[in-house]
């Protein structure tokens, strides 16, 4: 082989001629095929636009977003901001977005906790605990989410009594098939004192934490961080409220006729949707957590024990920080899944963005406009979430030498 190599070099003609024709030039071919792709795409877009225009014209419709300022005429069962039938279509979409955000944020928070718990349980040496976690994961993962939402909705509604026989907790929280009705805090003008106190407490504890860490690095003395900062954070706004003369009043719900008046309500649709989303997503997160923890080599645990760290500290200071690097990337996509899956709310009538969009589309007939708004909102949300998680991920990354 080696002997022949120089021969080859001399015998073979110059490469440009070897290709023969320009058709075989990879660069040219690349450009050509891209031009074809772009041309096809432009043609496709032109066709779609032309067809859409023709169709719209046939229907005596025009494209435009001014319908957003028209009165909607319908009500929504639950809204975080004021909404009534005389609010606009645009407002309806905004209410829908806020409801989606509410479900997504609470869902992500709760599912993370549940997922971690189940994931750790699955690795437990306790037979009952680990079997329970396995059972949970295998059942929940293999049933469609939509079906689970329906099941939870039925399970949430069925056992709950009507509003007149509502479960009464201390005359302030009522649980019935109208939802969970709770007292609603109303803050007076001087609440700012309490907020100021809270901010001061947060800054103070942050400073203390830095100081404590420095102390530990210098002297090796560990100072209690949570034991000190938690009471400060909790107590300071309360003291602030007391100083301001309790500007806080509670709007208690009261049974009036058919329903409760006052207070704030978590509707059963929200509860069912949240339960289903949290329980479903937690099964996937638990698997991520498990594989993350398993990915941390056992030597790390042994080394930590050898250094005299107890079990809790080993988990918290050695295993989890390393496991997180493995856990976070798939976690991000689970969070995105949960947010996207919250659109299944349409099936049980929780007015999320998808539901509001569908209703607005139906009452206004502006399919293209409404669905493009939904598309943009969901895409932006996904993009922002993944950017945020990427940033978090890069912060947690192993700093390698």
């Amino acid at each position: 082989m080696t002997a022949q190599a120089p021969d080859n070099r001399t015998v073979s003609p110059p490469p440009t001629e070897a290709r023969g024709s320009w058709i075989y030039d990879p660069k040219l071919r690349g450009i050509l095929s891209q031009v074809i792709v772009v041309a096809l795409l432009l043609w496709g877009f032109y066709e779609i636009i032309a067809n859409t225009q023709a169709n719209l014209k046939k229907l005596n419709q025009s494209f435009g977003f001014d319908f957003l300022s028209q009165a909607s005429g319908f009500d929504l069962s639950t809204a975080l901001v004021y909404f009534s039938s005389s609010s606009t279509y645009g407002r309806a979409l905004w209410v829908g977005f806020l409801n989606t955000a509410l479900v997504a944020v609470t869902g992500i928070f709760l599912t993370t906790i549940l997922g971690f718990v189940i994931g750790v349980m699955r690795l437990s040496k306790n037979w009952v605990v680990s079997r329970f976690a396995t059972l949970y994961i295998e059942i929940v993962r293999n049933i469609p989410l939509l079906l689970q939402i329906f099941i939870w909705y039925a399970l949430v509604l069925k056992p709950l009594p009507g509003p007149k026989q509502a479960l009464n907790i201390a005359d302030s929280i009522f649980i019935s098939n109208r939802g969970i009705i709770m007292p609603h805090p109303e803050f007076g003008d001087s609440t700012w004192i309490a907020i100021l106190m809270l901010v001061a407490a947060l800054i103070g504890t942050w400073g203390y934490r830095r100081w404590a860490r420095k102390q530990q690095e210098q002297t090796g003395q560990a100072r209690p961080v949570w034991l000190v900062s938690l009471p400060i954070i909790i107590l300071s706004p309360i003291i602030g409220l007391a100083l301001a003369g309790w500007p806080l009043t509670w709007d208690f719900p009261q049974l009036a006729g058919f329903n409760f008046k006052g207070g704030m309500t978590l509707v059963p649709e929200f509860i069912a949707l949240l339960l289903a989303l949290v329980i479903y997503t937690a099964a996937f997160i638990a698997e991520n957590v498990r594989s993350g923890i398993l990915a941390v080599s056992h030597g790390q645990t042994e080394a930590a024990h050898a250094l005299g760290l107890d079990n809790g500290k080993t988990l918290r200071l050695v295993v989890i920080p390393q496991a997180l690097r493995v856990i976070i990337p798939p976690m991000a996509s689970q969070y995105l899944n949960l947010t996207k899956n919250s659109s299944l709310a349409v099936a049980i009538g929780y007015p999320d963005l998808m539901y509001a969009g569908g209703t607005v589309n139906n009452q206004s007939g502006k399919a293209i406009e409404v669905f493009s708004i939904l598309l943009v909102v969901y895409l932006t949300t996904s993009l922002l979430t993944s950017l945020l998680m990427n940033w978090f991920n890069s912060r947690m990354k192993l700093v390698e030498r």
Binding site: K58, N126, V128, R141, N142, I143, P144, L344, A347
Partner: protein, 372 residues
């Protein structure tokens, strides 16, 4: 040798009672520490309570034989199983004409046999079988189910329903998403900037929106984009929506496999003078696909579960047909819905759990080559 050194082994004593036997096992596994013991008791009690509730409802208080709803419609009755018996055929065939149901059976049978041939490693002729399953079978199914040729009466898709629609959706999406996913994954990693940009945009847009939105848009907007008068079938729109959605996810899974192939493989095949498609088809793809088979099967499981979402756009898949049955005046009772959902959950679970077990099995089987 001194006298005080023993020359023979001391007689063996039995191990202490607390480290062998069932008591020790229980202690070791259930009550190693007080906290763990408490967890065992609480979770064990919870588990027993759940199991008891289900058994009580599904067996003890259940109604097994009844001509209509009257027996199920009493206070305290459990599951109403006769509903399932009455509706079972509708769940499997939808509204498919009764005298034509042999066509559905034939499709089920062909699918089952061919799939078994593909999935069981010992059966030979994998290549032919794959050709049959991925090319011949879908075409045959199309003509067999729809009819209108070879003297078969035409059965429009609005008469399909239940498991048939679920399987048609799932299988079509599975069969189309793999090749589309491969193309998209190659496109995204392509050196041609425009192709790579377009593939990336497509993948990210589709992955960024919920499937329900994709289905809604396919159902509502697709016809607006078509030339006036052209209107695709409702089921077809859903199938196209699902396939596009699935291919974007598939593309990302396959891209993961492509990235795991060492650069040397690409360089070596280039050095051998292989052109792009030969390099991909003969060297890179076989290795990449082998790595991502578990991921692909996981995608299939997700896809199968996601077919239930077409219910929301008014297609009677398995979930849709079960729900529509709740409204039947003959069977409407407080327990009809629960019984339907329970049975449905079991059906879906069997399918998905089966797939996931198979995925684990194949993962173990394929993993051998990579262990060093």
């Amino acid at each position: 040798m001194t006298a005080y050194v023993r020359t023979e082994d001391a007689p063996r004593l039995p191990a202490p009672a607390n480290i062998v036997g069932w008591r020790a096992a229980i202690r070791e596994r259930l009550f190693p520490t007080p906290l763990s013991g408490l967890a065992s008791i609480i979770i064990g009690a919870l588990l027993l309570w759940v199991i008891w509730t289900i058994v009580d409802w599904a067996l003890l208080r259940a109604v097994f034989v009844a001509p209509d709803r009257t027996l199920c419609n009493v206070e305290g009755a459990g599951a109403c199983w006769p509903v399932i018996q009455d509706k079972a055929l509708q769940w499997v065939y939808g509204f498919y004409p009764i005298d034509q149901r042999w066509r559905v059976n034939l499709v089920y049978l062909m699918g089952a046999v061919s799939l078994a041939g593909l999935l069981i490693p010992r059966i030979p002729f994998k290549g032919w079988n794959a050709l049959f399953f991925f090319v011949v079978y879908p075409i045959a199914t199309f003509f067999l189910l729809l009819g209108g040729v070879f003297g078969l009466p035409y059965v429009e898709t609005s008469q399909w329903g239940g498991l048939l629609v679920t399987l048609v959706l799932a299988v079509t999406a599975i069969v189309t998403s793999v090749p589309l996913g491969i193309l998209l994954a190659l496109g995204r990693r392509s050196e041609m900037p425009i192709v790579s940009l377009l593939s990336t945009i497509f993948i990210e847009v589709v992955r960024g929106v919920p499937l329900v939105l994709v289905l809604f848009m396919a159902a509502n907007m697709f016809p607006l984009f078509m030339p006036p008068g052209v209107n695709p079938d409702k089921l077809l729109k859903a199938v196209v929506g699902m396939s596009l959605f699935a291919s974007a996810y598939m593309a990302e899974t396959i891209r993961g496999g492509l990235q795991a192939i060492p650069k040397g493989q690409y360089e070596a095949s280039r050095a051998l003078g292989l052109p792009y498609w030969k390099m991909m088809g003969l060297i890179v793809m076989p290795q990449a696909l082998k790595i991502v088979i578990p991921g692909i099967v996981n995608n299939f499981i997700g896809l199968f579960k996601d077919t239930s979402l077409v219910t929301v756009v008014g297609i009677f898949d398995l979930l849709g047909i079960v729900q529509s049955g709740f409204n039947d005046a003959k069977w409407a009772s407080a327990q009809t819905g629960n019984t339907g959902y329970f049975a449905l959950a079991m059906i879906y679970w069997v399918f998905c759990f089966g797939m996931s077990r198979y995925s684990m099995y194949i993962e173990r089987k394929l993993n051998t080559g990579h262990k060093r």
